[in-house]
Amino acid sequence: MIKRIFIRDTNSSSVDKARDFCNAFRNQLRERQMDEKVQLIRAADMGVYNQGIVMRILPDDFLYGQVEEKDIPRIIAETVCGGKCVCDLVCHHAAKQCRIVLRNCGAVDPESIEDYIARDGYQALAKVLEQNDPEKVLAELKVSGLRGRGGAGYPTWLKWNLARNVKVNQKYVICNGDEGDPGAYMDRSVLEGDPYSVIEGLTIAGFVTGASKGYFYIRAEYPLAIERVQKALDRAYACGLLGENIFGSTFRFDAEIRLGAGAFVCGEETALIASIEGKRGYPRPRPPYPSTQGLWGKPTVINNVETLANISPILLKGGKWFSGIGTETSKGTKVFAVTGKVKNSGLVEVPMGTSIREIVFDIGGGAGGGKKVKAVQTGGPSGGVIPEDFFNTPVGYENLQKIGSIMGSGGMIVMDESDCMVDIAKFYLRFCVDESCGKCAPCRIGGTQLLNLLEKISDGKGNEEHLPALRRISFAMQKASLCGLGQTAPNPVLSTLNYFEEEYRTHVIEKRCPAKKCGKLFRYSIIQDKCKRCGLCVRNCPSDAISGNREKGYVIDEAKCSRCGLCLETCKPNAILRG
């Protein structure tokens, strides 16, 4: 059998040594007349980072790291000819992903119900309806320890049980697909890549709680997700998996899509219900909780997309299996959307308890361009910033809360040393101010005041008294706001202030932005001695801020300059100074 060897230089230096290494390897194979039996392939990614030359050998599936040219003869003799492992070269593949929610994403055709069924789809629903015992499902979910994946982490079985215990003729279940956190797109991918698993989860939720009607609340910004869920619903109706007498039982369940019109607050359950009812997306005080009085005053269960996608694997493989994954209080896996200043942005599903370091460095590949990772932001505008010192924290609901952030729905934005924390806090706060519904004063007024203060600080007009003021307003918002949006909106401010107070102080005392992000605290200028008069900066400047000519040289007009930094990037002789 032909051997296939994948080779990749995993060091992030500017010179890629893989090509030379491959040539050396190929020459040595040729000397031994073995080049017909082995194919060498330069891989573009191996999922391993900073381990020098890494090679993976198939079909044996050995992974070697830090391989050098002197090792080639050994590898040829022992592994290629002998099929044995060269033990001292073995590279241990760290953090592995574990796919439960994303089990079908990328594997099935989202528009084919047969594809889903071929991968054990609808087996859980069939089993549940055959056994016809909702209590048993609840017991299984209780054992599994599944908690809501939308952010709050309320035990799913408890939520279902509360709604189940209310004796009325009409109840509802809702799938919350109003994913609004900047940078988070887990739910979108699941709805687009595996809509049937969510439909199956929702149907089971309907059966257990006694609801005969379900809604998919999906934000209108996800046209493809809406299209695929709609197709899946139509197909499920056609196959008798929605509607009357599902799988020959007496159970009836209908589901339809309702679109969210783009308000962030509608991801909050009471506002979401108002929105489905056709009212303005205003939250209301709880209790009564939706489980007892929700949509149109009826008991309603609202579950996140990811929670529902977890249901059928749990019922098929058992709650015990699920609770075997994860930590003491947080069971199972969590999908994170890793974005920002990270080499491999994308969706990552890891068991709870995996450390942030493993997610960012082992799976994400660390920050690109040789820069240092400074912090990650989790939980979107309701979450906080976690500095690099805390990266060994295992992810879980309580663990992240302890260090001033939340797991939230699973957005994870990586920041490197070129990110300014005041700027980050400003960004998230502006988002919350835009999205505040305006019903309660702490959120409406407090948010705006916080934003004003942050803007002053980043414009260099701040003073030391502004820092305690930030804390005071934040505290008031946390205590007095009506819903989760206002209560959590100051979190990014508080956590950056706690962990990066020094950076705030540099802004207000020295009037300097260490990361060179706050535009009014630094300027660009041209070092005339270094300037080669090529004019590249003039041509690239989008705001016409550079004037001059080849004879006289060039100057930057500070008033016109938008601080985009394009001149700095394009200048070959490094004649642009930032400071």
């Binding site: 330069r42 573009a44 990328g106 099935v108 069924i117 797109y185």
Partner: protein, 125 residues
């Protein structure tokens, strides 16, 4: 399609298990489409038709490696299952020419491979 019964589920599953056909999957979620997956998909379909190849070209969801989209997963019998990343129509042409017809893996485009059927799937299936 008729209303499904529980037995039908197992029948469909079995039928799928018996299929021993080569396939190509193109990640066509928002992330893939934004990176140009539609064009890649069309190129692959066209090439397969032109050369009368016995291989399925299918759309699927996001496999998670959004940085490497458009992502194309190729399964040809006797070869490891690999993910080609950052595929353009030109690379798609080459995938058909080299990988599918020539049975040779391509340099510089492989982002991941699956050796075992259940790689990273938490023991499901």
């Amino acid at each position: 399609m008729n209303r499904l019964k529980k037995e039908d589920l197992n029948r469909i599953k079995e039928e799928y298990g018996k299929r021993k056909k080569d396939w190509i999957k193109v990640g066509c979620s928002t992330c893939g489409i934004a990176a140009g997956a539609q064009e890649v998909f069309e190129t692959l379909c066209r090439e397969v038709k032109e050369h009368h190849l016995d291989i399925d070209v299918k759309k699927c969801g996001c496999a998670g490696m959004c940085y490497a989209e458009p992502l194309v997963e190729v399964n040809v019998e006797g070869m490891p299952r690999v993910f080609y990343g950052k595929v353009t129509s030109e690379t798609a042409d080459k995938i058909i020419e080299k990988h599918v017809r020539g049975k040779m893996l391509m340099d510089d485009h492989i982002y991941d491979l699956k050796v075992h059927q259940s790689d990273g799937e938490a023991g499901l299936l």
